[in-house]
Symmetry: C2
């Protein structure tokens, strides 16, 4: 039996780190995860992740050869293999992630922004297969974005293009604190955490009953709020509506910058479907300049929540082989 070449694709999120063994055709032969939040020290995290990847290898029956590790992470920088001051992760400063990984392996290790990885995944395996100009917005613990223009991922001059999660909703200092140290960033409104924050504010202002009043901030998550909203919970529905409107407002800006064919929403919040898509679409259209109105599709990612970023991260290494 021939040996199958595989790449390990890794998606580092604020809550979980998901990885998969990906073959040339985008099939995931095995996958698993560790909790990102369990590791205060980056060295320990990398060692634990590497070990978990090696253990998971045993689930694969085929004979495989790993040819490299592709990593998507918030603030991941493709030029330097670093993650720099990642707002939603447990570690501070400039983290030489690729170098830390290379303590465990001599194989190629590449790092990029997690949303960029998701965008590449969507382009190769998902709903953007026929598209040249599109945007992927990842809605997880935070908010990431990846831009594809003319069929190519936009990295920009320093490798940091596509961080709209940290653009401000409005000028001025009277806004929500962001993990990045600033105020009023989009991701403080539009993300799983942003949804919780909005829910708490609505709960404080309103006297409507809600099944969510029994949960603490720490207990709450996007899924609980989603389930409550589906059952008609007024406060949960208002929280989704506000979140969707804030997203739609900023998507109009995204369109005015790059005039994409479509914007894909990916990640936990996107699973709430109409609860988030309807207000986002409505408020995006309301804020679009006439030349764009009715032309830009707002679509759910066609890849499952984990897969897009894992597949996209793996493609970093496959593209090395081609050049």
């Amino acid at each position: 039996m021939s040996v199958k070449q595989v790449v390990v694709g890794i998606d580092i999120g604020g809550t979980n780190t998901v990885f998969g063994y990906v073959d040339r055709d985008g099939a995931i032969l095995a996958e698993d995860r560790i909790k990102t939040t369990h590791y205060d020290e980056i060295e320990v995290y990398v060692a634990a992740l590497y070990e978990k990847i090696m253990v998971t290898r045993q689930k694969i029956e085929n004979s495989i050869e790993i040819i490299g590790f592709g990593i998507g992470a918030p603030m991941g920088n493709i030029n330097k293999g670093t993650i720099e001051h990642p707002a939603g992760l447990p570690w501070k400063g400039i983290i030489p992630l690729a170098d830390l990984f290379k303590r465990h392996t001599t194989l190629p290790v590449m790092v990029t922004n997690d949303a960029n990885a998701a965008a590449v995944g969507e382009m190769i395996y998902g709903g953007a297969r026929e598209m040249k100009n599109f945007v992927v917005i990842t809605l997880g613990t935070g908010l990431g974005s990846g831009f594809v223009i003319d069929g190519k991922l936009v990295y920009g001059h320093d490798g940091f293009a596509g961080e709209i999660g940290h653009t401000a909703i409005r000028p001025g200092p009277s806004n929500r604190d962001c993990g990045c140290g600033r105020k009023g960033c989009l991701e403080t409104y539009v993300s799983a955490t942003g949804l919780k924050r909005t829910l708490l504010k609505i709960m404080a202002d309103s006297i409507q009953p809600s099944e969510l009043r029994k949960y603490s901030f720490e207990e709450l998550d996007a899924e609980l709020i989603h389930e409550a909203a589906k059952r008609g919970d007024y406060i949960a529905r208002r929280a989704f509506e506000h979140t969707g409107r804030m997203l739609g407002f900023k998507l109009a800006d995204v369109v005015a910058h790059t005039n994409p064919e479509a914007i894909f929403l990916f990640g936990g919040l996107a699973l709430a479907k109409d609860l988030i898509f309807e207000p986002a679409k409505e408020y995006m259209e309301e804020n679009l300049l006439h030349i764009y109105k009715g032309k830009v599709k707002l679509l759910p990612s066609e890849l499952s929540t984990q897969n897009a970023a894992v597949l996209g991260a793996s493609s970093l290494i496959w593209s090395l082989k081609e050049t």
Copy 2:
């Protein structure tokens, strides 16, 4: 003597339409202008412009051959040769500009966004000659923007990428009316007209004396305000400062989208130098995510006010010859 090939580059602005006969090396052999605002009917405008171009030809002593017409205009669409609902121009609806021009000539006619034309001009002949990723913001009667990524102008899916003049400063309806029919667009604050509007508001709120109190809104222009500010006029200086801050706030968004090496400011307002650059730079830096801070250059265009867009527009035709 050999016949020299030239392209007529045309820059349609809200106030003036400037054109030039451009040779292969970017030398402008002759140039002139007509008032855009003098023509209510687009057909009359095109006929007058074409005639003026033909008359200006007589200023050129060399023997020339015109090989085409390249036009930069607000809302210019390269795919269709149209300008669509241009907010700052006298004509409404979708204007088939290339077709109207072709009533007068059998030569190729190409249309693009005026700011895109300026960006190409800056890339070929100006300060962006060594750059692959940059943005040009044109500050005239309105505000236009052109994005270059990986050495190529970004058109987007429908040919309308780069219209940040019509992104909103903040959500909500309690904002300045924009010529595009919406509220609170960036160009209602950051443009020659936006500067005048801001000046009037400050004049209304303040009891400080100002040499500008003797002018009507219609009499005021960016140059008058600039001259007053240079002489230390408090209200004129405040108006520039506010304009610069609004620009800086939005430039931080531009950086988070495409992470450029530099942003060039071009056009009338940019001539006010530090009066606009200092508050813009300061407020941009204040609003940038740490990974971008101190890295993005904010520069004046290296081309004279008219030339960048005229040269850029002409390059549309030169690039046809190459392919």
